[in-house]
């Protein structure tokens, strides 16, 4: 059966919504949450693209022993610094808590905008300043070469410009806290009558949880990197052992934020996957309330007390290791529940495989591998060999980088008809997914195997491990396939935005508010006179 026949008939009458002339000024000074979302989207995908190019350069460099692309290890280290910092701070967090939160939260709860639209504009400006500052890495002399972790004393002693790192983190962090205050207020106070706590979309719950984590932990990272800059430029010695400071304090503070940051990315991402699966399986969320209480909130509760598994061999006391081994293993419980919730939502569903659903299905497998390969890392005795080898990038690319990217790309395909009022090309969408899925598995499967064999991460060259060169080459080929896939995705979006077939308000046949009640694209103010919902309304009210 063709894709077309499976979709609901389009109600094209509404598409002639608002057709305005393009005005750059209006875009820059906008307070409309949907436009702010688009600004976030452009910035986040720009960071993704440039950081992805860095990955291609690095994989090419590693494809043969000795110098390949550059003979200067500092250049390679700068690429790696940019890749890590930009992918996490410039792409994943802003794409999920900036782009998707902005686009979906007011629409899904039936609000006309966020609670503080001007604070929202400030958030996206700060984010863009952070992106510009990060991109200056390639222009300034002595760019930062301290990796995204920025461990002292190297970050204090280096000739690289650590201040650029600090100010990028501070801008992004400030942006994120402003966003957090805004969205928590919006979710608590601006829900339309009828959208009760028990009837909120999974994505809203997950965004709420992510911003709670973000507001608690971002200030810690902000303080840590500020102290780092004081040490380097103002002569303090918080972390400089030469004058009595301790690098371990920084390592603890850094991971005290940066481990929960993983959940800030993970929660909205799995929230998107919930939305996609519920819509395309046309099914109720399995065990909704318990999944929210024990899964989503369980992650919030445990997320802050597992950071020391990044530091088992750093020189922390044994009692701390004891606690964090248990806590880290136990995090499998709420995360496992969230996975069971997804599988349960498939049960007795009616699954239609459009591109967003392909990404959601891909997520189920990629995240499974990512989650399971995390178990060895929780165990300090196994970790002692694996840490800081290629196993770690292999694992966290599976669990974070590529799983969450399937959610981000799948989520973008999902929201695409709502945002543009047009449909992307399904064939291009599928080709992009297949290339992406095949590529990531080739690259990161071999990355993990190289790690078990002992290859340390963040290496420009590997003269001491000549026997793994062939695996490096396979990983490099895989990365080219990913890049090709990303290009196809980009082309499908650009093509769809300009030449796609026009669609009505609900091409997926979803029951969620943003599809049933708002035209595509929604006008400023979203719902006109507001939303009136019947008592038995539910965003997942399928199969009655």
């Amino acid at each position: 059966m063709s894709t077309q026949a499976l979709l609901e008939p389009s109600d094209t009458a509404e598409v002639a919504a608002v057709k305005q002339r393009f005005s750059l000024k209006e875009w820059i000074f906008t307070t409309d949450h949907k436009r702010v979302a688009v600004l976030y989207m452009i910035g986040a995908f720009a960071a993704f693209f440039v950081a992805g190019l860095m990955a291609m350069l690095m994989r090419t460099e590693l494809a043969s022993l000795g110098p390949t692309v550059t003979a200067d290890p500092s250049t390679y280290n700068t690429w790696l610094y940019f890749h890590g910092a930009a992918m996490i701070l410039g792409y994943q967090i802003p794409a999920l808590t900036g782009f998707f939160a902005n686009y979906y939260v007011p629409l899904m709860i039936g609000a006309k905008d966020v609670a503080f639209p001007r604070v929202n504009a400030l958030s996206v400006w700060l984010f863009w300043m952070g992106i510009i500052l990060a991109l200056l890495t390639f222009v300034i002399p002595d760019p930062p070469d301290i990796m995204w972790t920025g461990y002292p004393p190297y970050s204090i002693l280096t000739g690289g410009n650590t201040a650029f790192y600090t100010f990028t983190v501070l801008l992004m962090g400030f942006s994120s806290i402003a966003g957090g205050v805004n969205f928590l207020t919006t979710i608590i106070y601006m829900r339309a009558p009828g959208v009760t706590w028990g009837k909120m979309n999974m994505f809203i719950w997950c965004t709420l949880a992510a911003f709670i984590i973000q507001i608690i932990f971002v200030p810690v990272l902000g303080s840590a990197v500020t102290m780092l800059t004081f040490d380097k430029y103002l002569g303090t010695s918080f972390f400089n052992p030469a004058a009595g400071g301790s690098p371990l304090i920084y390592e603890n503070l850094f991971w005290f934020y940066s481990h929960p940051a993983v959940y800030v990315i993970f929660l909205p991402a799995i929230g998107l996957i919930y939305e996609i699966i519920a819509t395309f399986a046309r099914n109720r969320i399995f065990n909704y309330k318990k999944i929210v209480y024990y899964g989503v909130m369980g992650v919030v509760g445990l997320g802050g007390i597992v950071w020391a598994h990044h530091l088992y061999v750093a020189g922390i006391p044994n009692w701390m290791i004891l606690i964090h081994v248990f806590m880290t293993l136990i995090i499998s419980v709420p995360v496992g529940l969230l996975m069971i919730g997804l599988l349960g939502t498939l049960y007795k569903g009616s699954i239609h495989y459009a591109t967003p659903m392909l990404y959601a299905a891909g997520f189920l497998f990629l995240f499974l591998i990512g989650g399971l390969t995390g178990i060895p890392n929780a165990m300090s005795s196994i970790y002692i060999h694996l840490t800081d080898t290629y196993w770690m990038p292999g694992h966290f690319h599976y669990v974070m980088a590529i799983s969450m990217t399937t959610a981000i790309i799948g989520g973008t395909y999902y929201v695409f008809p709502k945002m543009t009022g047009r449909m992307y090309n399904e064939t291009l969408g599928r080709i992009g997914f297949i290339l992406f899925f095949v590529g990531v598995n080739i690259t990161f499967m071999f990355t993990m195997i190289m790690g078990v064999k002992g290859m340390p991460r963040r290496y420009y060259d590997y003269q001491q491990f000549p026997e793994i060169e062939w695996m490096q080459q396979i990983a490099t080929v895989g990365s080219y396939i990913i890049f090709l896939g990303a290009l196809v995705v980009l082309i499908s979006w650009l093509h769809g935005a300009f030449y796609g077939r026009k669609v009505g308000r609900n091409p997926w046949g979803s029951r969620s508010l943003e599809w049933t009640h708002a035209p595509s694209p929604p006008p400023p103010g979203n719902y006109g006179d507001g939303v009136k919902l019947p008592d038995d309304w539910n965003p997942y009210g399928y199969g009655k």
């Binding site: 280096t158 301790s246 046309r282 196994i382 800081d388």
Partner: protein, 241 residues
């Protein structure tokens, strides 16, 4: 269930050539535990654990994805509503299963961890200082070397670790151990030297431009040869004036 187990065995044996290490004979050193064998054993148990869970989940996922695909365009899902008991059951039964596995793994972990952190008596003690970019080694007799860690065969070796400048990490892949070298701190690790041969010693914590060039060799020598080397390389006694 049996079927799943045999499947996982097949998958595991297919993956073994990629995950296995080049064999290397390890002589027992003075009754000290063999950490490498301990690590490999726990790793293989863990792999079975992970593969079994992974295959069960993957098969269930695949089954659901195929079985419940949409057949008519107006079809909707018909998931049953859970009773109160069932909804709690779907939380607590998996939670207890996961936790049981977690606690089992934690126990296994600390058994090996304690061996890794308790240096056997009579270990050969050596000082290793990291610097940008290399390892300075000082033997008890005063002999020194850079990037060449010579140790006698079949002996537990304790390396006392420190750093001259930034954070490094002392990593011996063949012995499955590493530990950070932190400036201003003294840390340690120990390993069982095993049979004569050479092993890689390399830095595993990012330490600047030549991080990847910070490596050397562990050279395990026959006892007699090692004693001779130590004697020859001991510093000459200081002359009194």
């Amino acid at each position: 269930m049996n079927k799943l187990k045999s499947w996982s065995k097949i998958a595991l044996s297919a993956a073994t050539p990629l995950l296995a290490f080049p064999g290397l004979a390890m002589a027992e050193g003075a009754g000290a535990p063999d950490l490498r064998a301990g690590w490999d054993e726990l790793w293989h148990e863990l792999m079975i654990d992970i593969w079994v869970i992974g295959i069960i989940f993957a098969l269930i996922t695949l089954y659901l994805l195929i079985k419940y695909r949409r057949r008519r365009h107006d079809e909707e899902g018909s998931a049953p509503r859970l009773s109160k008991l069932a909804s709690f059951g779907w939380v607590f039964v998996p939670a207890f299963l996961f936790m049981a596995d977690d606690i089992f793994l934690a126990a296994k972990n600390f058994e090996l961890w304690n061996k890794m952190r308790e240096v056997p008596e009579g270990a050969y003690e050596i000082k290793v200082e990291g610097f940008m970019w290399g390892f300075d080694i000082t033997h008890p007799g005063g002999a020194t070397a850079t990037n060449e860690l010579r140790v006698p065969e079949g002996t537990p070796v304790k390396a006392s670790l420190s750093s001259r400048d930034v954070v490094h990490s002392f990593f011996l892949p063949d012995y499955r151990v590493k530990w950070d070298m932190v400036p201003g701190m003294n840390t340690y690790l120990w390993f069982n030297s095993g049979a004569p041969g050479e092993h890689v010693m390399t830095c595993a914590e990012y330490c600047g431009t030549m991080h990847s060039g910070m490596y050397g060799k562990v050279i395990v020598m026959p006892k007699a040869e090692f004693d001779k080397w130590v004697k020859e390389n001991a510093p000459a006694p200081e002359k009194h004036s």
